[in-house]
Symmetry: C2
Subunit: 299 residues, 2 copies
Amino acid sequence: MSILVLGTVALDTVKTPYGKRIKMLGGSAAHFSMAARLFDCVHLVAIVGRDFPPRYIDFLRAKGIILDSLIRSGGKTFQWAGEYRGDLNTALTLSTELGVLMTFRPTVSEGERDIKNIFLANIDPELQEHLLSHMHSPGLVALDSMNYWINNKPKQLLRLLRKVDIYVANDEEARVLSGESNLMRAAKALRGRGAKMVLIKKGEHGVLFYSDKFILSLPAYPTEKVIDPTGAGDTFAGGFMGYLARVKKVSAATVKKALAYGTIAASFNVEGFGMEKTSRLTLATLNRRLTKFRKAVVF
Amino acid sequence: MSILVLGTVALDTVKTPYGKRIKMLGGSAAHFSMAARLFDCVHLVAIVGRDFPPRYIDFLRAKGIILDSLIRSGGKTFQWAGEYRGDLNTALTLSTELGVLMTFRPTVSEGERDIKNIFLANIDPELQEHLLSHMHSPGLVALDSMNYWINNKPKQLLRLLRKVDIYVANDEEARVLSGESNLMRAAKALRGRGAKMVLIKKGEHGVLFYSDKFILSLPAYPTEKVIDPTGAGDTFAGGFMGYLARVKKVSAATVKKALAYGTIAASFNVEGFGMEKTSRLTLATLNRRLTKFRKAVVF
């Protein structure tokens, strides 16, 4: 089985107390892919501009990520610039330049339409719905979004919610979209709005997973080396979906392990700028930390 | 083995979106005892005033809590009034009347001085140190405090830190006392200041436990019924210390299970006002929820 991810490939400029990086490879689909590739073959659907460095294309390809549906268009690549201060929990967005994203119309090759595992990473919900409508037989579909779309295209997002298996949100997004401050209630409310399962990412506080059959909760991996949290959520999703795609089964046991893999993948992501750490990751390294994590939380 | 707890017994007036209670039985030592009694014999060291309702004395005694060192003095019982709004994560203190706490000088009976398990619940650190100095052979000593003492008696608190096994703090307190925003670093720094082990309570986000030998992390029990969180931290500590006192051993395995018992005890506490839920709790009920919790977090 393969995984198809729709999202952004971006040039990120990030400043944290540990340094600054200019126009690093970033974006939701790129971060997702870097973790998911450890488990399965990943097809990336996104758009970049003429200014996108060819070395980043080579880099993604060298990691085994399939770029058949990565469009290279005239115009500028999507750019994000942000800064983290203090405890690095909140990003201060300095600038966002949509560039080629403005004209993006995702297309997938005929062969890719048969892929069953689909991750709709954060991007305009209309593009997410457009892509999903072109897939032949979606098996496991997960959806991520952000406050911008919750505020600006809530109808489209809620319509899409009914078509996906797992809605992935951070705590703030879950609260805003559901109107509930308690996260368990927020998860239930989002279930009521149509998502079969709800995964709430709480950053340094771990994750909460809600479905009718089981509720799961995991803390984050305890780390003191937070260098740059950009992409942690997408990296989490990559580890999570990657494992589920590999085991081809959604049960309390597999979802638990998938959440743990996502947690561990994200813990590596935050320990370096951009994909510095996740791009060097192997499944063996991931498994070693998973064993440590299991010791820390199993009682 | 028994447990001795020094702290407050208070009359709490609490308002939450779910209602209001006037002059309920509360206080750090009372909440702690209500959970710890499920595991071991608890001796409560505190002071109340002439206005303290005799029915509360009967109530505590009926729960098996030993009140030989509960002083009844002239003056008014310590009173706290607070309100919780929105997501109930932060208490807004409306008034604090120290009353008899101002003149409190804890004493313990000769027999109680041999108790090995000691919990110094939140109260003036000088009183905590005074009590500890009178104990014959402390075995496992845990210390809780609050921002008020961190800000007003930091020297006394830091001196006491070197004499205890476990320093229990919430995330904000750990950050303020250590000067570190990352919680793992905060825990390490507090270890460096003398506490052998550090337990950081993160409220709805669970707990982090740090020692030289092992690091543990647990999420909170996922609940949507948060009625009144007053006393959740002390209830947590009661379940935690209670279990450790009962198994008479501090290892990664026993601390993990103790953290889980603390988590579960606290989850009952927040589901009702004051001790409505914890006072009716049995070990069997606690164990049933522990099994559910284990299913939710073990992978």
